[in-house]
Symmetry: C2
Subunit: 132 residues, 2 copies
DNA sequence: ATAAGAATGTTATGATATTACATCAATTGC
DNA sequence: GCAATTGATGTAATATCATAACATTCTTAT
């Protein structure tokens, strides 16, 4: 795997779409937004997303089947990332908590469970939406 | 809402299918297993699942689009539940961790985020599968 | 008995994701 | 050079997951 310095055209387009989006996008929404750039089929989106996720530049939000550009693309050294997703406005906050990571890691070790990917997603109402 | 004492026929059938399954089942797998019991359409499954989830008898695993019978159906007082899902054999472990719950709650409070539903799912290899 | 609310049955459709196969481009080993 | 490999792409078809819309039946409270 080469350094992320060189994304392919499709990968760059998908990342750009996500980066400029107001919130998480579904794969098909991305497809629609890239029609004018030559995208014709879902696979073009899914393949780009796959690579971008490997590079740590994009996250998949499992609970809503959508994707976001990573908010902290600098250090993607495997740390556990949690998401707070506003069900009203779609805004997503990305955060880490060492204690949570430690507790889940402890459980895994105690049960001889070898984690490959961990999902933490909190759905609810963000500050703005819950005060309104 | 009435007490879970009386499930409807469809709800009981779906719960039974999940309870006797070796692991999580997709809605369509449940449908197939209940064909002989008169199930014909996905909605029959989804509607039963919806009620069973409200009653805390069934959980949805967001990361794999599947459903499991709750392992601790006694006390469903809103506590945060985490799942460890073996990607090899499909076995699911359900557990709680007060510290994790407290830390996520603390983050939410600090950010004025009002949580409605929280998902914690660890995918990986269970003891049996990782030792083999 | 009847009105209100749930649950059900059925068809159709929407939304998300992958398989399969052909092609093209860059790199590598000889 | 030039096959051989590898990775990316294009395209069509299909698989998988989930809900909308509508009619009907069952339950229960009054």
């Amino acid at each position: 795997m080469k350094a992320p310095a060189e994304l392919t055209k499709n990968q760059a387009l998908v990342l750009d779409a996500l980066s400029h989006a107001e919130g998480p996008l579904s794969a098909y929404t991305i497809l629609d937004r890239l029609r004018d750039d030559g995208f014709r089929a879902p696979l073009q989106v899914y393949r780009a997303l796959e690579k971008l996720q490997e590079l740590g530049l994009v996250h998949r939000l499992e609970s809503i089947n959508a994707f976001v550009a990573c908010a902290h693309p600098h250090d993607h050294h495997q740390e556990l990332i949690a998401f707070a997703i506003c069900e009203n406005c779609g805004k997503v906050d990305e955060f880490s908590d060492e204690m949570v990571e430690e507790r889940l890691g402890r459980w895994a070790k105690a049960h001889d469970f070898r984690p490959s990917k961990t999902t933490i997603e909190i759905r609810g109402a963000c500050r703005t939406c819950s005060s309104a």
